[in-house]
Amino acid sequence: MRLSPDAMIFWQHGFLKLNGTIVFTWALMFVLAVGSKLITRKLSADLSRSRWQNLLEIVVTGIEKQIQDVGLRQPEKYIGFLGTLFLFIGLASLCTVIPGYEPPTGSLSTTAALALCVLAAVPLFGIEEEGLGGYLKSYLEPTVIMLPFNVISELSRTLALAVRLFGNMMSGTMILAILLSITPFIFPIAMSALGLLTGMVQAYIFSILAAVYIAAATRGRKSGREAKQHI
């Protein structure tokens, strides 16, 4: 049984392999990039606007509102990173309705890459907001003794982000494959509908957690502690 789209090989030449993860990731990136480019090519500011522009406006303002709710006061600064995370993971799980497609987030390499992006983005935003000293000082809170634990929590939450997304997406496709061999036709449809829901929830969770981590790094000590309770 195939655990991830890594094992789905389209083309191979010696050392180079073109597996399902790479193909589907690039297809999704292509759809997202070209789609946004096409829609934003002719934006209108008056009352008559295309339905695609309406869709994008709903998505962008919705994401901005969610980021604001977490406590980041300038959502337009973070929407480039957090919104892309949400849209990529969300589209990756929404596209499972297409036959023959497997979500690239069902591969541990994709989710590990996304989690590493979060690991790198948190100190970058933190240093930008509070300066190098201010950010490093947040590791010494509440006391110096907590320094190793703060470092460990930074690493362990990266691992948790990666494995959570991977496990959820992988279990969805795995359950579908198992059900198809036991009770074909009706029951797998219900499970794949449930898979769409959990996929969107996971996309939401991933980006909200990234936002919470960034918020904890960019703000003072009081809100940092409050955000840590989420971990």
Binding site: L3, G167, M170, I208
Partner: protein
């Protein structure tokens, strides 16, 4: 019983035990979380959006523990490193 059979037995039994024991805790936790969220929703319907958002994030957090167990049992069943090692050794003989 040779090594291969032992490893197969240990992997299968451990995979079952992992997912069985590992889902007890998260199931209890999710039940408590949902029950508390429902009672607070009944008390304060105005705060529905905040409660629901926090509930979903919390549920995913709790559920990820069950997912870790699932991943471990899947690795034991389908991508077992010990099993692959033994297979490689017998093939090399």
């Amino acid at each position: 019983m040779d090594n291969m059979t032992l490893i197969a037995i240990a992997s299968i039994v451990t995979a079952g035990l992992t997912i069985a024991l590992g889902s007890i805790g998260p199931a209890l936790g999710e039940g408590r979380a949902v029950a508390t969220a429902l009672s607070s929703l009944a008390q304060q319907p105005d705060a529905a959006t905040t409660i629901t958002r926090t509930l979903f994030v919390g549920l995913a957090m709790i559920e990820s523990i069950a997912i870790y167990c699932f991943v471990v049992s899947m690795i034991l069943l389908f991508a077992n490193p010990f099993w692959n090692h033994v297979i490689a050794q017998t093939a090399g003989k």
